[in-house]
Each structure stands twice: as C-alpha cells, then as structure tokens.
Amino acid sequence: MVEAAWAYLLSHPKLFRDALVTHLTLSGCALAIATILAAPLGIILSRSPRAALVAINAANVARTVPSLAVLAIMLPILGTGFAPSLVALTLLAIPPILINAYVGIRQVDPDAIESAVGMGMTRLQVMARIELPVALPVISAGVRTAAVQVVAGATLAAFIGGGGLGDFITSGIALMQLPLLLVGAVPIALLAVGTELLFHLLERTLTPRGMRPGSS
C-alpha cells in the first residue's frame, strides 16, 4: 500500500505539488494576517485592563470552538473556495496569538519597567527596549500554537473546497482508495510536526540569551 501511495505520488507530481502549495499558502497567509492583527492588538490591550478583560475572555471562549465549526460556518456566509478557508483559518489563529501577546507584555517584571522609566526612557523606548524583547518568547509561543493549529485546520479546508492536502484524504475516503489516504495523511503529519519543530527553534532563537532555560 505504501508502494502504491508512492507510485501515485510519482505519477501525479503536479497534483501533489499544487495541493502542497495551496496548503502552505493558506496556512502561511492565515498565520501572517492573524499575527499582524492579533499581536499588536494584544500589546495594546495590555495597556487597558478593562478592554482586556472582555477581549481576553472572548478569545479564551473562541479558542474552544472546534476548527470544523469555524470552517463549516463560512460556507453559508462566504461560500466555498480559498477565500472562505483563509478567513476561517485566520479566525482560528487569532486567539492564541492575542492571548500570548497580552500575557507576554503583562508578565514583564514591573520593577524592570519602573527602573527603565526612572532612568529616563520614553514610553516608546520602554516598549521597544524592555517590554517587547522580554515578551518575545511568550509572543512567539503563541504564534507557534497558532501555526500548528492553522496547518491542521488547513486540512479541513478540503471540506469547503479550499484545496490543500486534505483533498487527498477526502477523495481517498470517498473512493475508498487507501493509498490516496497515505498521500494526504503522511505529508500532513510531517508538515504539522515540522511546523512545531520549526517554530520551536524560532522561539528559542528569539529568546534573549539571559532568559533561556538551563543556559546559566
């Protein structure tokens, strides 16, 4: 069966490549848009406790909504295809990034901030030189969580005509062609694990040396 899957892959290189490209484009765009929207929003929220209470609670609730529910509900609203999938995946990626950006800034040692202000840093300098670098590991952990979720969510885009590697699985189940299942499932699993590892590495790189665990 593995051989059959491999043979299928070799005989349909363009089909596979297109699905992979769609999968990556969908995931990458959704993650990028969500990061651009949610990270600054989370940082701004750390400045206004009242708005934060509402927004963070909302994000925590939104986080529990099943991925399939978010994707499926796009169908009656935006129809099928790439765009509705992109919107759904972006929505999925926002809560973890928003929450971590907020938490990351909030957990910066208030004494470090007080000394920074007391030394004559402007608000912008405190943000750029102290708060952001110290919060960066937590923020990037949020992006990592979102990335893994988006890569997994993108497999479900197949259900609403968004394409991607999930297509091989849906057609594999529909036609009961087991090799086709492998053509979809194995690359998806590798992609997800690879995403986790890649972003883990990124997170480590972004963690300032003085704050890395176990390096003292």
């Binding site: 920074a116 007391g118 030394m119 004559g120 840093m121 110290v134 704050m211």
Partner: protein, 322 residues
C-alpha cells in the same frame, strides 16, 4: 541643591494628601534620608522628585532650576534611580544593563565600554568576569551592586534610592552600606535615600527627615535627631536606646583626652582611636574599668578615654516628658 517647596500629593479619590506641604532642602553633596512608618509618604516624596508621581502642589527646584514642569524624561536622565527590587533587565547582560543611560544619552561606544568597566570596578566586581553575564547568574548582593552601578552610569548629580538594601541579607547589607559610603566619599552625589530602618538612616544620612502622615516631623543631622527628638513620636521612632546610638556616631579620637599618665589601668585596657564611642563603652563595661588607653593604628598611645567623658557626651540627650 534639591529644594522641595510645599510639595503636595493628593491621590485621586483620597480624602487626605499622601504628602502634605512638605518643604525640605538637601544641600549639594549630602545624603538626605527620608524615614518614617509605612504610609508616611516617604516613597511618594521620592517619586515626585523624578516625577514618577506627579505632584498636585508645590515646587521642586534642582540646582536653582525649577523642574516642576520640566519634561520628566529629560529630568530623569539627570538622576540615578535605585529601587529595592532592583529591576535589572533580564534580557540584557550586566554590561548592557549598566550601559542603559549612557546609551540613552548617546555616548560613543568606547566611552560607554570604559564607563561600564570603571563602574563595575567601583562597586567591587571584576569587569572581565561579570560584564558579559546575565542578571539571573548573580547573587542578590551582586545584583544590587549592579543596580547601583547602573544608576551611577550617566554620572548624574543626584541619586534617588528607595530602600536599596532592604531585600538583602543582614551581612551583605552591612557590606553594601559600607561600600556605598566609600563610593560617596570618592564621587560627590546628592542622595535622597528612603528607608524604614533607623539604624540605616543614622548610618547613611548626613541629614534625616522624619515623616509621618505625609508631613515632615523633624529634619536634622542624625546626632541632632537622637539628642533632641522634636516630639514623642520621633523619640519613640528612633528607639529607647538613642543615647547609645549617638555613641555610634562618634569615634574614640573625638572624645579622648590627653594622656595624663593614668597608671592604674591594667595592660589590656586599650582601644583603637578609630573605634566608636559605643565600642569603647562596651569594652569598659566588659573589663569593669573607668577608662581605656587610646592607641593609633601602630599601637602608639595617643590618649585616654574615660567613662565620665562618654557620660558628658550623651548627657545632653533630651528626654521628653511622657
């Protein structure tokens, strides 16, 4: 140097001001200790000087210049600031932490590097070992040394210190106090120092300002406050042993008399001239003697200190009617 005129802070939603028409002058190069029970307004007063707290009334004059309405960011770069929790930046090395203000001031890199090494040496840390370390690799005492070095980095004329040695173990605290006094002898700074520890205030302060409920109760030299407490509150605050505390402020050399050839003292009854009068008293009591020989660092006899001389020294200590 620092002049506070009717400085007042009324926090929103509070009935009474946290600091109430406080007027105080700290002469250039002196250390003024703000002390009082918690909630007396000492930290608020300090934070108004660098405007982390905006005054609601009164003026702050720094070196003849009214800075009450000045841009706080520019003002703060002229003042070093040390807090009890230190607040070192965890993502920056020790060197980078100390370099913060020089960088803000736009010094050239070589000058910053030299300054970092100079300051680490000043606070008793080896630059070669510690410059590239990170805060979490240091002990509490080392962190506070770095905190002091960081505050000194831009060579500000004024240092504000909020219980800087409060969270450190007693032995290290004593050492840091002594080191800071030594540093202050080599570099002249006008220091405002907040503490709740009377002994620390007496040790560190040229002048002590005692605050209660946002008001200045007494302002004077440590000896002045110990000798003549303004009221029962001050008397109780400085402690029942204030006569003894006064003796800590005086060295034997200052109270000794010329050697009149007292032959009755046994051989061991001597004390060094740089010991405190309190130590001399303790030695006399322990040896059951009326006096001690005073010797210099080389062991040469330079005078005599007597129980009656010490009595006279603290005889002026006022006790208020209860």
């Amino acid at each position: 140097m620092i002049l506070l005129e009717s400085l007042t802070k009324l926090f929103p939603g509070q009935a009474t001001p946290a600091v109430d028409r406080l007027s105080l002058e700290v002469p250039a190069g002196q250390t003024c200790v703000l002390i009082g029970p918690s909630g007396c307004g000492k930290t608020t007063t300090m934070k108004m000087i660098n405007r982390l707290v905006e005054p609601t009334g009164g003026r702050i004059v720094l070196a003849g210049e009214d800075v009450t309405g000045m841009d706080p960011v520019a003002l703060r770069r002229r003042m070093g600031y040390v807090i009890q929790q230190i607040g070192l930046f965890p993502h920056l090395t020790i060197g980078e932490n100390i370099a913060t203000v020089p960088r803000l001031l736009g010094w050239p890199a070589p000058r910053i590097g030299a300054r970092v090494d100079e300051l680490l040496t000043l606070v008793g840390m080896d630059p070669a070992i510690h410059r590239a370390r990170y805060p979490r690799e240091l002990s509490g005492g080392q962190r506070q040394r770095v905190g002091v070095a960081r505050a000194l980095a831009g060579d500000p004329p004024v240092m504000l210190m909020d219980e800087p040695f409060g969270a450190i173990d007693p032995i290290t605290r004593l050492r840091l106090q002594n080191e800071f006094l030594r540093i202050l002898r080599t570099i002249r700074k006008t220091v405002v120092f907040v503490t709740h520890d009377v002994d620390e205030a007496i040790k560190m302060g040229d002048r002590i300002a005692i605050l209660r409920d946002g008001r200045l109760v007494q302002y004077g030299t440590p000896d002045d406050i110990l000798a003549h407490p303004a009221n029962g509150f001050v008397e109780e605050f400085v402690g029942a042993d204030r006569a003894l505390k006064r003796l800590d402020l005086v060295t034997v050399r200052e109270v000794m008399q010329a050697d009149s050839g007292a032959p009755t003292l046994p051989a061991g009854a001597s004390i060094r001239h740089d010991a405190t009068a309190k130590e001399a008293l303790s030695a006399m009591l322990a040896m059951d003697q009326e006096g001690l020989r005073v010797v210099d660092a080389n062991g040469r006899l330079v005078g005599l200190v007597s129980l009656s001389g010490i009595r006279r020294l603290i005889a002026g200590t006022t006790t208020l009617p209860a």
